[in-house]
């Protein structure tokens, strides 16, 4: 997904001379061909995130479309003031590509884990927040970024992610994609973003084997949230489960819950929000191992869903 995204910047730059790449201190040789062919539109500015965002803003004020790339924590937290003022207040078409969203950098520890990127980016007026599920979908997203008039945060996953998206489903920023439809209305609805959609599809298979009727809706865009899709699938559902690789505070699940509560009121179905707790992760290992610690594997998502159904029945 990362290589696809970066290569797409070059591809877009060949199509549109407004496209500019700005990295911080990334891999040697990154987009070398672009650097060679269009040196005035390829920059590697060093570890100066605040400056890089402002520089991108200055270029965008003059009509360019800068794609800025560095590690997710640093492109969000490190320069949050610049993202807010330079990009969002001025509403400039700068694209922020954050490497290693969520728990990707598990072995590197909590300084490198972007657990709240979606929440804090979502809080900024005018910001668009995206987390696609794999490389094929990344291509579709990147093709839409040339003409989107607002700043965009593009959260990257680890890479090599299994392909689950389908071209026939189409792609538009702000439009959720139903990946699996339940037979009836009174069903379980799994709503997810990023690579958690892949885990939700696997969880849905497990739930289905146990006789549950399950939908899976993929929100590659967390903001603007496809409220229509959220409401359509939630209305009448037995249980809504939101799943994200990020903090539950202010993240994707919060966005969905806000909409449901505001629009459905007392008719809001029970909602289980699966995500990361309000704590810095202190284990290392692999991303998959942290998934297990935080209950984000397909089997755990299925089990937590079933448990939640039981609790709901007990309360009823």
């Amino acid at each position: 997904m990362r290589a696809t995204c970066q290569n797409m910047v070059y591809d877009l730059a060949k199509r549109d001379n407004r496209v500019i790449f700005i990295g911080s201190d990334l891999s040697p040789g990154l987009l070398a061909q672009m650097k060679k062919e269009m040196p005035e539109r390829w920059y590697m500015e060093g570890i100066t995130e605040a400056n890089v965002i402002g520089m991108a803003a200055g270029l965008a004020m003059e009509g360019y479309i800068p794609y800025v790339n560095t590690i997710a924590t640093f492109i969000t937290r490190r320069c949050y003031e610049q993202v807010a003022v330079d990009l969002c207040l001025h509403e400039l078409p700068v694209r922020l590509i954050g490497n290693g969203g969520g728990l990707v950098y598990a072995p590197l520890g909590p300084t490198h884990l972007a657990i709240e990127d979606i929440a804090i980016m979502r809080a900024l007026p005018n910001m668009t927040v995206t987390a696609v599920c794999e490389a094929k979908e990344m291509v579709r997203l990147m093709n839409c970024t040339l003409d989107w008039p607002h700043p965009i945060y593009i959260r990257l996953a680890k890479g090599g992610d299994p392909v689950v998206s389908v071209e026939e489903n189409g792609f538009a920023i702000g439009k959720a994609i139903p990946m699996r439809r339940a037979r009836g209305r009174r069903s379980i609805v799994l709503m997810s973003t990023g690579v958690m959609t892949t885990n939700c599809l696997a969880a849905a298979d497990l739930l289905s084997k146990d006789g549950h009727d399950v939908s899976v809706v993929h929100f590659h865009t967390v903001k603007p949230l496809d409220e229509e899709a959220a409401l359509e699938f939630a209305d009448g559902a037995e249980l809504v489960v939101t799943v994200e690789e990020g903090t539950r505070i202010g993240g994707f699940g919060s966005a969905v819950t806000d909409v449901l509560v505001e629009k459905l009121g007392v008719a809001t179905p029970p909602v289980l929000r699966i995500g990361l707790p309000d704590a810095f992760p202190h284990k290392y290992g692999l991303q998959e191992e942290l998934f297990e610690i935080y209950g984000l594997t397909p089997a755990q998502i299925a089990a937590r869903t079933v448990k939640s159904l039981k609790v709901k029945d007990k309360v009823a």
Binding site: E40, T48, N51, M55, G58, L59, M61, Y64, D86, L89
Partner: protein, 281 residues
């Protein structure tokens, strides 16, 4: 004969202000009166810098603020905006009457300038330490476009405490942006007190030079000296320029000069306005 002198020779504010400088300061007071508040000291130190830039240096079209070939002036120390607002009125970007609406609910003129509202304002500033990076981006854009627009970023001395300024300076030096000029309104007093005590900037000229800028110092209230420096831009053919303007906080208002308490004032009523006008007689 050059009037740009070495730092130890700069003794600011000995010459009396000429009539135009006093007139512009009266417009600043008019604006403060309109909002009953504002950054008094921070605007007064900037008056000659803004005056010379708009009167003699910048290329612009007031009836076409987004004219592609214009020079870009970014007031990075956004809190000094009244000094820019009066020049925008002087040049016809905004009517004078708008000055009287400063900071009022539906005004286009806030306590910090907003690009989306005010013709002639390039960027919304107020949060400090952002302007030089905008300038780097704009200067690169001009280079790519093969446009000869000059980009001038005016910063405060307190502002350059921000690390982001020095990140931007690294980039500007690296890219040898000769179309970019950093101007520092070095009035030696920030909100909390003297810059020498709060966060000492010296040796300031050496710092800019160390970041690969061609840097000079000038008396920031000496109109002729400012003209001369700005007309020489770029100071070097292959490097960005830095112009350190030695100024006086609150310049022209004797009782407010060099006093951090006049950095910003609210509740500026008729009595205070009368005192401010009287000081400019």
């Amino acid at each position: 004969m050059t009037r740009v002198r070495a730092m130890h020779e700069i003794d600011v504010a000995t010459a009396p202000l000429d009539e135009r400088s006093k007139y512009l300061r009266r417009l600043v007071v008019r604006t403060l009166h309109g909002g009953e508040r504002g950054h008094v000291g921070s605007s007064m130190s900037l008056v000659e810098i803004m005056r010379v830039l708009y009167d003699d240096i910048l290329r612009f079209r007031a009836d076409e603020p987004k004219w592609r070939w214009r020079d870009r002036m970014i007031l990075s120390k956004g809190h000094g905006c009244i000094a820019q607002y009066v020049m925008l009125a002087e040049k016809g970007f905004i009517p004078y009457e708008v000055l009287d609406t400063f900071c009022r609910r539906d005004s286009i003129l806030g306590g910090h300038p907003e690009a989306a509202k005010i013709p002639g304002v390039e960027a919304s500033t107020g949060s400090l330490g952002h302007g030089l990076s905008y300038g780097v981006g704009m200067a690169l854009a001009a280079r790519i476009d093969k446009r000869d627009s000059r980009i001038i970023v005016v910063m405060g001395d307190g502002e350059i405490n921000e690390g982001s300024v020095w990140e931007a300076a690294l980039s500007a030096g690296k890219h040898r942006l000769s179309n970019l000029t950093a101007v520092v309104d070095y009035n030696k007093v920030q909100s909390a007190g003297p810059t020498s005590e709060v966060q000492d900037l010296e040796p300031l000229l050496d710092k800019w030079r160390a970041f690969n800028f061609a840097a000079v110092e000038v008396d920031g209230h000496d109109v002729e000296a400012l003209r001369e420096v700005f007309r020489r831009l770029p100071l070097a053919p292959d490097r960005p320029s830095a112009v350190i303007c030695h100024t006086v906080k609150g310049k022209g208002i004797a009782f407010a000069e060099n006093d951090a308490n006049w950095h910003h004032k609210s509740k500026i009523g008729k009595d205070v306005v009368a005192q401010l006008y009287a000081a400019l007689e």
